[in-house]
Symmetry: C2
Subunit: 266 residues, 2 copies
Amino acid sequence: MRAESVQILPKGTKALRVYLSVRDQITVGDLRDGETLPSEQKLAEAFGVSRVTVRRGLDALAQGGFIERRAGSGTKVRARPAVAQRAAMNFNTLMPQLVEMGQKTTARLLSFTYGGAPDFVSLAMGFKRDIEVQIATRVRLAGNVPFSHLTTYVPAQIAQNYSENDLATTPLFQLLERSGVQIKEAHQSVSATLAGPEVAKALDVEVGSALLSLRRVVRDVHGDGVEYLAGLYRPDMFRLEMPLMRVGQGSARHWEPAIGKDEGGI
Amino acid sequence: MRAESVQILPKGTKALRVYLSVRDQITVGDLRDGETLPSEQKLAEAFGVSRVTVRRGLDALAQGGFIERRAGSGTKVRARPAVAQRAAMNFNTLMPQLVEMGQKTTARLLSFTYGGAPDFVSLAMGFKRDIEVQIATRVRLAGNVPFSHLTTYVPAQIAQNYSENDLATTPLFQLLERSGVQIKEAHQSVSATLAGPEVAKALDVEVGSALLSLRRVVRDVHGDGVEYLAGLYRPDMFRLEMPLMRVGQGSARHWEPAIGKDEGGI
């Protein structure tokens, strides 16, 4: 279990802000291992809070192992071990892939039900009202650390072709294509959101942490929606990597995604 | 000015969590206009807080215009007007483009200085120690609403070829290419983060709001880093849109980005 999963958050809205803001700068890499934090006085000025409040935030950061206070040499950032296992999305499979070699991601099925499609799914997929969908929620882990919370919505008529066990072991695209679905295109929309209570628990982060949010609509050759994915990713564990090439001449010069087919698109 | 810019946040960490979590679900569209919120009792159970705390969170949401309470018919979600002006990134220019027609984005230069490159920039760009860079911070607006906070780092030797005024009016890629730089490739890394005090003020959001974070390293034909971008985007105003096509046969079947050159890649 990681240190922050048993972490007590600082009391008070202002101290929580200090804590979350600094912690986030550490986990995204703006503050690097060994770097010295600004003084309590400077932090107090930057956040517009008292030094007592800053100290409460720093106490929680120290307790969580994000910073180290040394008499005489100030407060140093300590890099997080979890960052070493960062995953990225492979654009050829749209599956996460660990950036570091030698380790695989695994999935854990949290829930699996059939029911009516929520309004935002029906709208995006172009479903008729009251269509039944299979709703599956999985958490994906790198080593033992959860990094993504994925909820998929698939029309029940398609989903009946594979089992709960298939879903835990095989990428959904393969299950769909094996079921005779002719996938044509997908549209991904990437944004950011805050972790709510349920997702925070599943991803082992605090409520109110920043998460990368990905929505994907997959359509078949007839233009029908066959999968809707709502994915939430821990920014300290997962990034979307996008290599791009500058191509064309003169006024036609523009950017194109550079997806190396051999190297897996990372 | 939007309602939430003069909004008073709920007092107390727990009420702030309720407020931010529900607000975020509204701004990313999980909760849609007219939808009914769960009862106070159900929200209290979901968040593991008291009904009094839920009510404090809902009071702030109602005051900010995110929800409307009607006697007898429960609490309804009210869609945000700002969402109608959402921008997305055009993959041909890597510039934001309004999804709705007829309106342009504008930029405001917040700061413009020369100085040493921060460590995380030097590391990503492969700079030698102590290289001088131009550091410019801009906020980009759709209509009057800020949606992105962009800080660019360009080696001083290149940046001397264009002025502060050029930067406010012309895309940086054009300025670089006009300066004789032969841009070859870029790498974008997309993540999420929380708004710190300065960025929150510039983007007119609360501290601790979720932001989409984009880091871009641009290299020339010699492999030298010519631009580093650290971009932060409001999720209620901006999304990264990624259309994809399923191509190839059999085991070679995979995804490829579908970038329509004529339609601007949105």
